[in-house]
Amino acid sequence: MKQNKIFWAFLFSALLLSSCTKNKEIISILYDDELLKSAKQAIEAKDSSIMPAYAQLKNYTDSVCINMEPLSVVTDKKRLAPSKDPRDYITLSPYWWPDTLVEGGVPYIRRDGERNPEVYEYPERANSTIFAEAVQSLAVMYYLSNDEKYAKKAAEMLRVWFLDPITGMNPNMTYSQTVPGMIEIRGTGIIDARRIAGALNAAKIIEGSDSWTDENKAELKDWANSFRYWLEHSVNGLKEAEAQNNHGMWYEVTHEAVVMYGGDYEYLRKIILEKQLPRIDLQMQPDGSLPRELERTLGLHYSTFALEALNLSDIMAGKIGLNLWEYKAKNGRSMLLGLEYLKPFWMSSDKWPHMQINPFNKERGALLLYCAGKRTNNKEYIELSNSIGYYPDINEKENTNSIPRVNSILYYKIN
């Protein structure tokens, strides 16, 4: 009888807990909603520690994004995919060059670190980056100011990129990072889909606005579900899911974002627990390093990049009641172990014992320390993050999934 009572009490609290997480309103996909809310409150209170960052974002969206011609995969297109369909996203793998020993030059051959200028013949990569940044900046401005004009512009840009019958991108990345003449199908181009995740993040944020109709929402959900099917079933997707380095982690981040946008939270939980977490166990060494990233010429960057992927997974996980920063694998691997490994080198990157042929932006470390500190209630991490500070270079956007102007608002407390 007593056992029975305990059982019912347990069941009741479990139900209560799950209904709490279900009912909690989700504002965004890729941002910590608590940070968004507190930023909004700070702005409403005209808190001097956030107003310069807010002015910067507002100025940028008012002067650039609001007037921007909507971009698409068709914009300035010079080269078509082998499908001959301009709506197929196509980019070139940057380090591959024509083979001078072969007539016609194909298949291309790899010259690591040397960027082939031919990549600029394929504007989708740059355009998708600009699009994702603009649409997220607009969405955040809409959330912070409640001014419909931002949502209106974001909605217009989202429709042109995804939903328009002439310009709308087909829901796959079959031709992302193509290598001319290569027979083998690769999955690596899926890493470009971080911008898609970002755009879905923006769509989520403007969901309450009149400019983003229920029909738009349903259509983008269908798009996202088609893209999800491609990620989960195509040769490209299946290969990228198996990638043993940061690519596998970023694949899952995109996958999670797409699943979350589709509203399938049960499946989101499943892939976080069963797909993403095992990658930590598998890719990390006992000292917290990620050997596959250490062998790169930009070792510190790629190590941080991998942790940034996991941090985004944690942000999504947090919205359904999971905490990945507190996760520890049976073999002892964890995100904190990875953080501990990198921490000293974020403080002084000149001590990095591996290759890093370009300068490293240590403010990326500050963000990760801040997130880890918040999620594990560790003051030391917060203080460390404060000591590094966050004064981002607004042009730094190529290698992370984050937008400096938006981060300056979300993480205004770091400084």
């Binding site: 082998p82 369909d85 079933h233």
Partner: protein, 403 residues
């Protein structure tokens, strides 16, 4: 309980037992009542069907061999995507250009099939259709588990397997080598998928086709539908002004029914298919776009076939298309009326028909119209033209044609 009540109860119970052994299986495109009748006829050793079904059973051995049912193994030409999981077929009437060294781009000779067709995936998709729909019917009629087991294996191999599963689009269907623009015409090949889905419906309930299998196939179909309704090719085919537009609607109606969305089937009929009838049919019942072809009577019948097939799906969504006459007087009945005299005397066809017309097609079309419109004249004409009995289920559903 008095004697009378007991009698009623007995009748009810025996009726229920008969119905249970022959419950309807809710196919996509077939007349389910006729499937029940066919099963009863087989169980009762009805001579009109018995030997035919037995010979289908015999020849069904061919589906149990090692032959692959997928587009990856023994691939002929691979699609420009280089992905063997992309379906690719050749546009039927296109040939190498003899004026060009490499023959590219191909040029069109309407009505002349290029034998290179065989090297592509079209042959395979017709084999899929035949195998799965036949095995599904055999499972339903004989209740032999092995048919459901094999059908489910083939469905998984073709659609769901991560190595051999077809990608859910037909970007490279009816491909024309060397052509620099894209077309939507290849979606016509998707008819075979709808007929394969009949097979998937017929094995529902078997332990070999699990709920998860069904869900996975429904997911595939949903994505294919997304492609049909949003891709450039899909939108082009949606705008086709001839039989292609009709079959486009047929495919999306069939697929919508398979994903349990009958209200969408209804929407397609009301907002699209009826408009096509108005736009494509002349007041005399002819389809001028089909009359312009070198095989005019064949294509007229092909357009009628599309309406027939759509009408069966529509019926399952609660719409009787045979009773529909548009404001301007267009109807399926009028289409049949136009073709009727030429089914009786194909030699009087005043338009082009560069190969002989298969009279059995006309006979079947008239017989079904006769049943639907309750016109004895058509049924009699169908019998007069005759239908050479063949061991295939499409014919056997109407086994009473030769009474």
């Amino acid at each position: 309980m008095n004697i009378h009540a007991m009698r009623v109860l007995f009748v009810v119970i025996s009726f229920v037992i008969v119905q249970m052994s022959a419950f309807a299986q809710n196919t996509i495109t077939m007349n389910d009542q006729r499937i029940i009748e066919l099963k009863k006829a087989f169980i009762n050793n009805d001579t009109r069907v018995f030997s035919f079904i037995n010979s289908i059973i015999e020849s069904s051995e061919q589906y149990f061999g090692d032959k692959p049912y997928n587009i990856v193994k023994d691939k002929g030409p691979v699609a420009p995507s280089k992905d063997p999981r992309d379906y690719i077929s050749l546009s039927r009437y296109w040939w190498p250009d003899p004026q060009k060294v490499d023959g590219l781009p191909y040029i069109r000779h309407d009505g002349k099939s290029n034998p290179e067709l065989e090297r592509y995936d079209y042959r395979k998709i017709t084999e899929l259709e035949t195998a799965v729909s036949t095995l599904g019917m055999l499972y339903y009629i004989t209740e032999g588990d092995k048919y459901a087991k094999r059908a489910s294996e083939i469905l998984r191999e073709w659609f769901l397997d991560p190595v051999t599963g077809m990608n859910p689009n037909m970007t490279y269907a009816q491909y024309v080598p060397g052509m620099s623009y894209i077309r939507g015409t290849g979606i016509l090949d998707g008819r075979a998928i709808v007929y394969a889905l009949n097979g998937a419906k017929l094995i529902e309930g078997s332990k070999y086709w699990t709920i998860n299998d069904k869900k996975a196939l429904q997911e595939w179909v949903k994505i294919f539908l997304y492609w049909m309704q949003n891709s450039t090719q899909g939108l082009m085919e949606q705008n086709a002004q001839n039989n292609h537009g009709l079959w486009y609607d047929f495919i999306r109606m069939g697929m919508s029914l398979y994903i349990d969305d009958p209200s969408y089937v209804k929407l397609i009929v009301e907002t699209s298919l009826y408009k096509r009838l108005d736009a494509q049919q002349e007041i005399n019942g002819s389809f001028p776009q089909e009359l312009a072809r070198t095989l005019g009577l064949s294509y007229t019948t092909f357009a009628l076939d599309a309406f027939y097939e759509c009408s069966e799906i529509a019926l399952k969504a609660g719409i009787d298309m045979w009773n529909h006459t548009s404001a301007s007087g267009r109807s399926i009945a009028r289409g049949v009326e136009f073709a009727f005299p030429y089914y009786l005397e194909p030699q009087k066809w005043p338009y082009q028909q560069i190969s002989p017309f298969e009279t059995g097609r006309g006979s079947m079309a008239l017989y079904i119209a006769g049943l639907k419109l309750k016109k004895k004249e058509y049924q009699d004409a169908a019998r007069k033209i005759g239908y050479t009995a063949k061991p295939n289920f499409r014919y056997l559903l109407y086994f009473d044609i030769n009474n």
